[in-house]
């Protein structure tokens, strides 16, 4: 019985562990959710994100979240992402050329 429990625990851990590991393309995938308004890869002519400094993007996002930067829609969208996700997104755009 004990042996079987241990075996199940092992199987469970094996099944769950990969699902908890971060995806190698997580930042790319998250940044792609922005493309509908900021262009593929952030290459919009109106609202470009590509190549902008990470710290600048993060401070803009923080200002949208706090309401300091008045917006029609970004203040609502930014609240849907975790801080960690916003950092991944900002880093990804800052590294694109």
């Amino acid at each position: 019985m004990k042996k079987r429990l241990l075996a199940s625990a092992f199987v469970l851990a094996g099944a769950v562990a990969p699902a908890q590991a971060a995806d190698p393309h997580l930042a790319r995938n998250l940044a792609a959710t922005c493309a509908n308004c900021h262009g593929t890869g952030g290459r919009s002519v109106y609202e470009p994100l590509v190549g902008r400094p990470r710290e600048k993007l993060l401070s803009m996002l923080a200002d949208f979240r706090s309401g300091e930067h008045e917006a029609t829609i970004m203040h609502q969208i930014v609240r849907g992402y975790t801080d960690e996700q916003l950092e991944l997104i900002a880093t990804w755009f800052s590294e694109q050329r």
């Binding site: 959710t33 493309a35 308004c37 593929t40 609502q76 969208i77 992402y81």
Partner: protein, 420 residues
Amino acid sequence: MNLHRRDFLRATAATAAALALPRIASARARPHVVVVGGGFGGATTAKYLRMWSEGAVDVSLIERETAFVSCPMSNLVIGGLKTMADITLDYERLRSNWGVRVITDEAIGVEPGRRSVRTARHGEIAGDRLVLAPGVAFESARIEGLAGNEERIPHAWKAGPQTAILRAQLEAMPDGGVFAMTIPRAPYRCPPGPYERACVVAHYLRTAKPRSKLLVLDANEGIIAKKALFERAFARYGTMIEYRPNSTLLAVDAATREAEFEFERVRADVLNVIPPMRAGELATRSGLALVNDAWAEVDWLAFGARGMPGVHVIGDAVFPAPGMPKSGHMANQHAKVVAAAILNDLAGLPPNPTPVVMNTCYSFVDDRAAMHVASVHQYDAAKAQLLPVPGAGGLSEEASVAEGRSALKWAYHIWADTLE
């Protein structure tokens, strides 16, 4: 070769043996994904598979039309504010920029075991993975007298010839005439769309035919999207717009343009019936598992069709997660999740365990002002669903000219993200 491509190829080589599905069809040297349906979902999937694999995956896109006509902004054509040319795009840049093999043909059915698509003129097209984006089918047969009379009583709910027909009927309507539109019970494609249409048609009538009447007959208990905002927008048109909830259409008479409801009969000069909807015909013909016999059942990590390994379904055809609208924006976001999941799968990796999608729908209330609804949906592992994030997203405070400009920019960007 850049880093992403090297990673992709290395991961592909390392894990081929571990896959339950064959990684590559035997006759091909490279993986091949077949996408059916060139709307916002299918076209975006094709582009992102090519872009993210850096050309390492071959992609065929099967679409019956040669042109892409956008449903978003098509209400502006009906209202006389845009032309058909303004909302018509093509698939050329998917070919020239991304190397997508665009096949103009009708998909007849799917052989899930072989992961192939039967077509009308190109025989059977097989891939290592299939992505079905069949959109919606209109259930005209559920309304007595409607089937076969869609030119006389247009829906204009798939942009294209139907859009032009409804615009022409509106233009030909005499001043003092009645424009009646009916809205089906949710879920249907583009929840705010019918109410936007009412506003831009009313704007046109007020300008060109001010003695006319606009009847909005809604099968739902009330306005189902941006309710307070649309109530205010309707009020600006005074008595021109008459909104009647709980009005389920039973029958139409194409000859007289009469519409029959449970408690009333309406005669119109222009009768715009938006019929009930279900997943596009290909979903039914392919034997996909359907919820409520209408919408395809998928898992939310990879949009895999239930019971069909290697077959994915995205866009309006999918039975939606709670709070998830059927919209072009959402279909474009589904596409990126499925493209990432397929590339991971081909490389022997599990799908991204934390996908995120978001949605924005703008609605015009006249020739210049628009308002939005937005939401962000994160994967909830316990519920195995993509769910709206509480406290995020929301509505415009009021329709504005500034958001009207945002709406046009949104269209420009999503068209490019999908097709260029």
